[in-house]
Every structure is written in structure tokens, then in C-alpha cells.
Subunit: 200 residues, 2 copies
DNA sequence: TAAATAAATTATACAGTGTTTATTTTTTTA
DNA sequence: TAAAAAAATAAACACTGTATAATTTATTTA
């Protein structure tokens, strides 16, 4: 076959991203390959590489979609109107909920073969930072010192992430959703209380 | 060629584990493959599979060696005699130091293609738990309530891990060793202070 | 409208991978 | 010494990402 023009470049792009995410959701990151994806959308590997350039970029595009949905979930929960500590807890809960609901896709965010070539694309980095900023904003409102807020944001972010990661990958003894939720609360409540009593 | 008997089964095993760790240390987990490993020790893939059975088990054996060394490092630092909070800080520092010094090998612990087949071997799980116990023990001495100590151990463990992971994989803005150290201290000090003031 | 050009898609090939099976060579045993 | 067992290799299978050549279609140009 040759040129078909049944789908525009952008259509192919979104078809691939959608189907790629389906594949990961169904069988995990290991079940994904460019050839299988191509077969599922009725094309050939070459077309995939025409559109995305490289395997890494294809994966980044698929994971980028997941990041967008995750950010949207968190943002919705933040808009519910909680304040202070409750707002941070809501954020962590939203993050954990998303990770549990879309476990395979969330895990895939961290299973991409790291470190081989150049770093991830800039637009992907931006998506990650946008997510991080969602946490930094309420913390800045909570802590007067800006440097302390920055440090707290990074500490909390990494810690929340660690709980999710170890929990969902089964590397933490009781990894039920409620157990993880308990750890999240434990972390946030005590860490913030520790900051509060820092002077005394 | 056929049977050579230049090396015993156990010798082959440790040769493979040693060389495998060298390969990962040199080029990261992506640079590792059973065929290359076999070539480097002067054998063929078949021999590797004779000894280890499967790729997953080979990787688990290599990573198991890393886990052992990590546990030894932490244990040495713990034996230095600090108490209470300082002991926990020493533990986190030892963990971070090891991860920084042996960055590729430490990262490889979490880059094994997860979730495809059955879970990791029991003996590997045991090594991980041994490491975790190193943290739980001093925490139990610090907190009177055993349940609270268990929860705190898991929370802290996952958080320390998260800081290391995000930091070393470059997903956290300033990921210098000292910045990570600062986050570790921030986490431990404030979390524990939060626990201390829980009643008031 | 017919021919030339450009673009999109496929087909093919390459060097890898983990894994399995058959073969060969060596050692041990009877 | 002959037979059995063990250890290692060689070869094949079905994959993978990637690159290049070939082919078909759409668009532009003459």
C-alpha cells in the first residue's frame, strides 16, 4: 500500500496515544510495543516512526497523556475548596486515587527505560513541573518563608511519590489502598506539625 | 565445545554476578544483557540459563548482591553508636551515600521489568525486608506504641526511598547530593517532631 | 488532461534480545 | 573400555527498535 490519507497526522497521533494507553492499561508497560500498537490501529511500524520519530518520544507522548489526566484529577480535587492542611491531604488523596485507579498507566510513568539517550523532551518536563506546582502553591500559602516552602514542597512531593511507588509495586508489606492512605496522612500531618513546632 | 569443568557451578554463579554488576555500574541497566555477560566471562548464553534458569532470576541474583552490600553499608553506619534521632539520620545518610556512590547499580534495583511473570523470589524479598528491619528497630526503640512504630517505619522508609529515587533520576529540580541530604534531614527531623507533639 | 513531483505507507532488512531445543564434547560411572 | 550422565555450545524462534529501499497514492505543475 502507499499513501492513504485516511487519517491526518494529528489523527494518527491521537489514535496512537489512545491505543497505546489502552494497551498499557490492559497488560502493563511490558505488553506495549510499537509493532503491536501499529497493528491495532491498522498501520505499520514505519508509520508510527513517521509520526513520533523514536520509541522514546512515542512513550513520552503516551505518558504525557497520563500526566495530563493526573493533573486534571488533582486540580479538580483542589478546586473543591479545602484550605491549609486539608488541602494538602486532598491533593495527596487525589494523587493516590489516580495511581490506584490507573495503576498500570501510572506505573508506566516510571518504567520507561531511563538514561539511555538524551533526557526526556522539554514539553514532558513541563508537564511534570506543572504537577509539582500544584503542590507548591498551597504550601507557599501555608509557610511564610519562601525557601522553606520550596524545600517542604520537594520533600513532601518525593515522599508522597515514594509511598505510592513502593505501595503499588508491592514492595511495602500491606499495600492496600487504605493502608497507603493511612501512610499519606501520617506523613503529611506529622511533617507539617513538625514544621509548625520548629521554633520551640 | 562441551563440558569443560574449568569452573564449578558456584564459581560460574559468582563470576556472573560480579561481572553483571560491573556491566551495570559501567553502562547502567540498559547496557546489560545475558549474551554480553556470557561473552565477558567466556561462556555462552546457554550456560547462563543453565545456572540461573531465567532472565528474571539472573537479574534478581545480581541485584541481590547490591542489596547485600547496601545492607552492609547501612549496618556499619548504624554500629557507629548514635542513638535516637541521630541514628535515624545516620541510616538515611548511609542509604543516600550508597545510592549516590553506586548510582547505576542502585537504580537497577528498580528498573527490572516488573509485573510480567510471578513475583520476585522469596530470598530476594527476604533481603529487602532485612534492609527494612534496620530502620524499624531504632524506630521501635524511639516510639513506645508498637503499631505506631510500624506505621512510622513504613512511612519513613517509603519517603526516604522516594527522595532518593526522584533525586537520583533527575526528576527533582536540584538533585545534588547535598540537596538530597537536606531533604532527608528535613523529612526525618520534622516528621519525628510531629510525632513527638502528637498529643498536644 | 497528462506528466512530474512530493508525500505517505509498506516491505524488507539488520542487529539485537530472551528463550528453547538439539548437538556436541567431556567427564564420570559401570 | 563401553555406556551413561553432565556441561557446554550451536542453532533456531519469535520478538524488539530502527533504518532504508520500494511502492502506491495524492497533489502539483506543465
Amino acid at each position: 500500500m502507499g499513501r492513504r490519507s485516511e487519517h491526518t497526522h494529528e489523527e494518527l497521533r491521537s489514535m496512537a496515544i489512545l491505543t497505546g494507553n489502552q494497551m498499557i492499561a490492559e497488560g502493563g508497560f511490558a505488553a506495549f510495543s510499537a509493532r503491536k500498537l501499529a497493528r491495532r490501529i491498522g498501520y505499520t511500524v514505519g508509520t508510527i516512526y513517521n509520526v513520533f520519530g523514536t520509541h522514546e518520544c512515542l512513550i513520552a507522548s503516551i505518558n504525557g497523556q497520563t500526566l495530563d489526566e493526573l493533573a486534571q484529577c488533582v486540580q479538580q480535587r483542589l478546586a473543591a475548596g479545602a484550605e491549609g492542611l486539608a488541602q494538602l491531604q486532598a491533593l495527596a488523596t487525589a494523587y493516590l486515587d489516580f495511581a490506584c485507579t490507573h495503576q498500570q498507566r501510572w506505573s508506566a510513568l516510571f518504567e520507561a527505560p531511563r538514561g539511555s539517550k538524551a533526557d526526556v523532551p522539554d514539553w514532558y518536563r513541563a508537564k511534570r513541573e506543572a504537577l509539582f506546582d500544584l503542590l507548591e502553591a498551597p504550601l507557599s500559602r501555608l509557610l511564610s518563608n519562601p525557601d522553606a516552602a520550596k524545600l517542604a514542597a520537594r520533600t513532601l512531593w518525593a515522599s508522597i511519590h515514594g509511598i505510592c511507588l513502593l505501595g503499588l509495586s508491592g514492595r511495602l508489606a500491606p499495600s492496600s489502598s487504605s493502608a497507603l492512605q493511612e501512610m499519606m496522612d501520617d506523613l503529611i500531618v506529622n511533617y507539617l506539625r513538625g514544621l509548625e513546632y520548629a521554633g520551640s
